[in-house]
Assembly symmetry: C3
């Protein structure tokens, strides 16, 4: 696959500078680009790498200048999506059902479906059209997989979990394991049976090694368009809104509700039963211990409003000195008082 | 399956108010309950949802009132266990050994055992009676699985790991991987061979995507009745006592000992070689850096006694103001001293 | 296998005290040692356990004394490696290719290779000599596995990932899943295609349930000799240097660069696009928010130089008292000022 500078510029809706017919045969990172590749300069701090790069042309944001053929675009990140897709058109051939796949009773399978080697499909599972399930996946009894969904190897979907359309689930992820619920009776922890469900709505993407527990009763729900990074924990009866971003290693305790469009940075934890308003931003490593109104921006352990926490962080370095000053000042004031 | 209000009240040891013969056909969450369902009101804050619920009756704690048929119980959480089990009696048919299961040499398998599709059983493995092993599980050479244990899909048990009776292990969990032990020799990290074992005692439950390392020498041990949530890390040579609760994403470093009945909240970390006394409570996100006597209650990074830490958290918001006040006060005291 | 005290001392390059011909038949932990075993006393704090141990002899560091046959060594941890290897010589028979293994088109497999049951090997995969791949592993299309590498059960290697020589990868680990990259367009998160690679260099060891994402463009790289503990997150386009130590549950955000020989303790998190200089030490649970020069030693959230943070931690306990003192002092100074 090969495109000219002008063709790429047109595909990206950008303006090019250089020879219109310059042939480009791939898109690559600045470091790995070879002659004939196009690359991206997404931030000014990449300029030194770009100067050294062997790329023959660059896609650049409006304020970036370099002495090589360029395509200038308004939104460098949208252009990145288009340019990568141009050279790497998404293609996954339909492979059908592998003979080593185990399929249960009363299973419904749509058209153009792939089921990989050693994948196990339980009884009464329903799989929509154009679903691609890699090898070694487990679909428990009664699971439902919506059309266009991709499930990577070694994913486990427990019984009666519902997955929407155009969902992507990466390897090692487990959806529908028992919620962590016990009642302590004379020091012994008795299990609360976990008989609820999980519903993953449309266009959700879930990273690798994520754990999503089923509800005790009711449903653990991940809203449409939400994106979940790797190694995230989502407890029983959690409700995540639409278009939420959850970065790696976040832990969401049982019965928490997260509003739409919220962004949760890495390694954050939430106490159970909290309600987080829509459009909130939770800074990395925060410990959220109380409900938050919509549009909150918090960070820290315990989480506080972002500006307040920044002031605390800035002051903390002074604390050892203040301890000393306080001791000294108390002595001096006592002396002044004695001199009256 | 259908029960009358009176029958359910008797099963739960509670008192009912309403028509004794009212037929109830399922138990459900407040949100998802349909007419004919019974639901639970576990806390006063659920009352608004309960008022809107379509449930035909409610199981309620002693201090909760609502204008619909109710069953009043002393322990709402114990009642929850009984009520869920009444409508969802635990049942798992014995399925025998699937033909795609690979079984090694000199394996001992008890009665009424299920081994799922594509499960691999190494040499000299011993499996007790009534064990249910889902598809795609791996049991390494010499592993021992006690009676009544349930192992969900895609679990990996390494060689010579011992699992007790009535243990539950969720998907993606790995038990017996090498401990993280290296000796640095001239900048190169040489591996300390990890030839010890792991012993999981009876009635332990382990969530999904948990990592439990084998001991270097000796045994990594999880005491009976202990419950471990998802994505927990347990290092080599760790000893966990009995009936310990370990919430999601906790990390327990090598050679740590945790006393019986301790509760460890989410995302806590422990430095290595620590001893935590029995009946301790470790607050969420704590970093524990020193030994703790029995009955400790600590929180924070580094972990401090709970009350002390709460006072620090409350004071932190004042810190930026104190920095300013201190500067101001020093100036004023200097002035006062000059005026003597 | 049985060795005399003298033979073991010679193997370890240590000096023995006791009967040269004393036969020892195994190495064990202090707690589990039986008569006839040798054990190790690695630190003085183990002496009480050693006094109670049934071991017949001990390997001890230079400054440790006990009234039983001993072998005194200069480096107790190196001696541990040698002694464990003496009694447990590493041995893994070549088992060949299991008949239930699925192998794609145009695959190259070296000599003395093991491929376990239900393992799936994609098209155009290349596997070096003496590679041992356990059952239920997934190797995506175009993956390359270097000679002498060991891959434990249920590992997933995505397409085009390159693994070096003598690498060890533990169960549940996922290498090559999509990086977490989205562009928000009118509230919807559009996926940036992740078409880059992952390269794991020689002699890397990776624990269980680790997640390593592929690069958007370019390569996510783990340098040779680096050791990664369990449940670690490594984002897209990360570059880890050589001989780095990464303890459990660390999270490394996209495009971070970690210098050679750095040590990262448990549960640390890094903001994206950071550069951490070589030979740095990052304390447990730190949140690193800015670039660090080589040889840095930092800890805390946000991470600060180690000594500075220790002083802050020590002062924090005084903070509630300082809040009170400040209030009191302000009143007294105001009074003094009024009395002038």
């Amino acid at each position: 696959m090969e495109f000219s500078l002008q063709e790429i510029a047109e595909a990206l809706g950008g303006e090019f500078r250089g020879e219109a017919g310059l042939k480009l045969k791939g898109i690559s990172s600045l470091e790995e680009a070879q002659e004939g590749d196009i690359s991206l300069i997404t931030r000014r701090s990449n300029l030194p790498q770009a100067e050294k790069s062997r790329a023959s042309a660059f896609i650049v944001a409006e304020d970036i200048e370099i002495k090589k053929p360029i395509i200038r675009v308004k939104d460098i990140r949208l252009a990145m999506i288009r340019a990568i897709n141009l050279f790497n058109p998404p293609s996954r051939s339909v492979l059908g059902i592998h003979p080593t796949c185990n399929i249960g009773q009363r299973v419904k399978i749509g058209r153009e479906v792939t089921l990989g080697a050693h994948t196990v499909v339980g009884d009464e599972v329903e799989i929509g059209d154009n679903v691609f399930i890699y090898p070694q996946v487990h679909l428990g009894d009664g699971a439902k997989i919506g059309s266009g969904t991709i499930i990577y190897p070694q994913v486990t979907i427990y019984e009666r979990v519902t997955i929407g359309e155009e969902v992507i689930i990466h390897s090692g992820t487990v959806i529908g394991s028992d919620g962590f619920g016990f009642v302590s009776v004379e020091g012994e922890h008795r299990k609360i049976p976990q008989v609820g469900k999980v519903a993953i709505e449309d266009k959700v993407e879930i990273g690798s090694n994520v754990s999503i527990d089923r509800a005790t009763l009711g449903t653990t729900r991940i809203g449409s368009g939400t994106k979940i990074d790797n190694l995230v924990q989502i407890g029983h009866n959690v409700t995540i809104g639409k278009n939420v971003i959850i970065v790696a290693q976040v832990g969401i305790s049982g019965s928490v509700t997260i509003g739409d469009n919220t962004i949760i940075a890495g390694q954050v934890g939430f106490a159970d039963h909290l309600t987080i308003g829509a459009n909130s931003i939770i800074g990395a490593k925060s410990g959220v211990l109380s409900n938050l109104p919509p549009g909150s921006s918090v960070v820290g352990i315990p989480a506080r409003p972002h500006m307040e926490q920044m002031r605390i962080y800035a002051s903390l370095g002074r604390l050892p000195e203040i301890v000393k000053d306080m001791k000294d000042l108390k002595k001096r004031v006592r002396k002044l008082e004695g001199e009256k």
